[in-house]
């Protein structure tokens, strides 16, 4: 009778294996990385309503949206110095506005770039053209999540191929467009 237990468990295990394969990359980081400066998108994009493309200004002209130069940061922060006040971020970390802003000023003073940690990283064999997506009218949040509500930005979507392809399927105008959007060479070359 032992066999039956074995056979059943093999079936169950292989089922789990397949399920695991299917969902292997479904787990996304719930927390973002520790950045050199605790830059809160929640405060900038959320509370202060600064449009995404004010800082990521190339999203509609280039494949790469770009990240703001230190010069751009200091453009505002030469005026905005931050209160000497504590702030509890959504990850529970307590920071001081002024201390964080002083860090930006330090970088500027030293003429050093800020070594930001990449949150959303595409493998190099994937070509994602920001311009095309923005021009088609997609919100940044579609892929990046509700960034304006995050103190510490994290990867909100798993951004694997399934994520991309589902969206491409949903947004095709017609059959021919669908064929184009699902053409492998659209993203991989």
């Amino acid at each position: 009778m032992d066999n039956w237990i074995k056979v059943t468990s093999i079936f169950v295990l292989s089922g789990l294996f397949l399920f695991g394969l299917y969902h292997s990359s479904a787990i996304s980081d719930s927390k973002g990385p520790m950045q050199p400066i605790l830059f809160s998108h929640k405060i900038h994009a959320g509370e202060n309503q600064i449009p995404c493309q004010y800082c990521h200004s190339f999203a509609d002209v280039s494949t790469n949206p770009g990240i703001p130069s230190v010069q751009k940061c200091i453009g505002c922060h030469s005026q905005v110095h931050g209160k000497d006040e504590d702030y509890k971020t959504d990850t529970g970390k307590v920071i001081n506005f002024k201390t964080e802003i002083d860090k930006v000023k330090d970088y500027w003073q030293r003429k050093e770039p800020i070594p930001w940690i990449k949150v959303t990283d595409m493998p190099e064999y994937v070509r994602f053209n920001h311009k095309r997506h923005i021009k088609r009218g997609f919100e940044c949040q579609t892929c990046h999540g509700q960034v304006q509500e995050m103190d510490v930005v994290y990867k909100a979507e798993r951004m694997n191929m399934g994520f991309c392809i589902t969206c491409h399927e949903e947004n095709a105008d017609n059959q021919e467009h669908l064929t184009q959007l699902k053409d492998c060479l659209t993203c991989h070359y």
């Binding site: 066999n3 397949l18 394969l21 299917y22 969902h23 479904a26 694997n160 191929m161 399934g162 392809i165």
Partner: protein
């Protein structure tokens, strides 16, 4: 099996169970040698994965070489087992009884060996599972138009079916062993493997039917598997590959090589385990006749390939075949022809067929010849396909040699384990062809 032996039911059981006694030092020595070669093969493979396929001898334009040769070789070896157990079962050929278990074991282990090569020859073997259809978030499936996917299905089906066939065929025998062994752990293992077999007429009824259906399923399967393997080539447009005779040619070649391997394996086993009463000269005579026949088919295929190449008046085909005969690889080509066509000719004489020394020597040459047949088909064709500017000559590397040696060791390792754990001669079927004990016999 001849009727005048002194075999009885109980002697059959005792003899077979005696083969499973504690392994001798010699066995251990052989086993350790096998194991160390498996280790060498494994090291070669790990090295290859780590550094890249460049450590193998591949070069433009020969993208397949020793590994695929090995693959086809082992799949070919795997064919005689099922052939002997299934096709000859359906044909009720009596000479199969004594050797079919060994042949089946050989089949399973050969498929196990063969199955490694398609993975090992991949550029990115860690992604081998992409060749299987499984639901994934990418929503992308596999290309069922690709002969390689057919291969995946054919070989895995073949492995499954031949393993089942092998294990099911052993049930009554394992029951017999179970009832003979005394050590408890062994008894438990054999109990499980015997599925609680008791040999009642009910069980025999279903078992007989099931076995028949298995044989009926395995027969077309065995023909299909090597056909599919041949289509890996025949579906390609490479001159020397793209031909319709490949399926029958490969199947015949597979049976040919498989029988060669059966003879190579059984002659020493027969001697070591004193199975002269079981595996008789008549058995070898039967196999040798089959070898004669398949050698003829193979020889015919060689000739007809040449003829078609000439008759097609395609420069690509004709130059390819002339290249085989007189080009850089001519040595390999003529080794193949001599081993597979010339050397088996003495088998036309009954004296040779019944002389085990000669048979053994011939069978070794057949194994060599058939390995080179695959090598020639794969490598020579690729070396000179359409574009003259791309022609190039392949040389085997030490990594490939190591993995090939490892594959033989891997096969023999399983085979050695098999000899000491499972009945290598079918107890029940030998008994079946013995006269049933009757009162009047005494």
């Amino acid at each position: 099996m001849s009727q005048d032996t002194k075999l009885t039911y109980s002697r059959v059981t005792t003899d077979v169970v005696a083969m499973l006694e504690k392994p001798s030092v010699k066995w251990w020595a052989l086993f350790m040698i096998s194991l160390s070669f498996v280790g060498i093969g494994l090291i070669c493979f790990i090295y290859q994965v780590y550094v890249g396929l460049g450590v193998a001898g591949y070069r433009h334009p020969v993208f397949w070489g020793t590994y695929i040769t090995d693959f086809v070789f082992w799949v070919g070896i795997a064919h005689s087992g099922t052939l002997i157990s299934a096709i000859l079962y359906l044909f009720r050929a009596r000479f199969r009884m004594s050797i079919y278990r060994i042949a089946e074991g050989m089949t399973v282990f050969a498929v196990l060996t063969a199955g490694l090569f398609p993975i090992m020859h991949l550029g990115r073997p860690w992604n081998f599972y992409w060749l299987f259809p499984y639901p994934n978030q990418r929503e992308i499936w596999i290309n069922f138009k690709s002969p390689l996917v057919w291969d995946v299905f054919a070989v895995s089906t073949y492995l499954t079916v031949s393993s089942l066939f092998f294990l099911i065929g052993m049930i009554p025998d394992i029951a017999a062993i179970r009832d003979k062994v005394t050590e408890k752990p062994r008894r438990i293992i054999y109990s499980i493997l015997s599925f609680g077999w008791k040999g009642s007429n009910w069980e025999w009824l279903h078992y007989g039917r099931a076995y028949l259906y298995f044989a009926a399923l395995a027969t077309p399967l065995v023909l299909s598997v090597h056909s599919v393997v041949s289509w890996d080539f025949a579906m390609g447009n490479v001159p020397g590959w793209h031909t319709t005779i490949f399926a029958p040619y490969f199947v015949a070649g597979a049976i040919f090589s498989g029988l060669g391997m059966v003879i190579t394996l059984t002659i020493p086993i027969r001697k070591i385990f004193h199975l002269e009463d079981y595996i008789t000269l008549d058995n070898y005579d039967g196999m040798a006749k089959l070898i004669m026949f398949t050698s003829g088919i193979v020889g015919y295929a060689y000739a007809v390939e040449f003829f078609m190449a000439w008759y097609s008046s395609s420069p690509f085909e004709w130059q390819q075949f002339m290249y085989r005969a007189v080009g850089e690889y001519a040595l390999f080509y003529w080794i193949m022809v001599i081993c597979n066509v010339v050397i088996p000719i003495p088998l036309w004489f009954s004296k040779v067929r019944r002389n085990l020394k000669w048979l053994f020597i011939i069978s070794i040459f057949i194994n060599i010849g058939m390995w080179f047949e695959r090598f020639n088909i794969i490598v020579i064709s690729l070396s000179r396909d359409f574009d003259p500017a791309a022609w190039g000559v392949y040389k085997i590397s030490w990594v490939e040699a190591g993995i090939t040696a490892g594959s033989f060791a891997w096969f023999f390792m399983f085979f050695l384990i098999f000899l000491k754990t499972l009945p290598s001669v079918s107890i029940s079927e030998i008994k079946e062809i013995l006269p049933v004990p009757k009162r009047g016999d005494k």
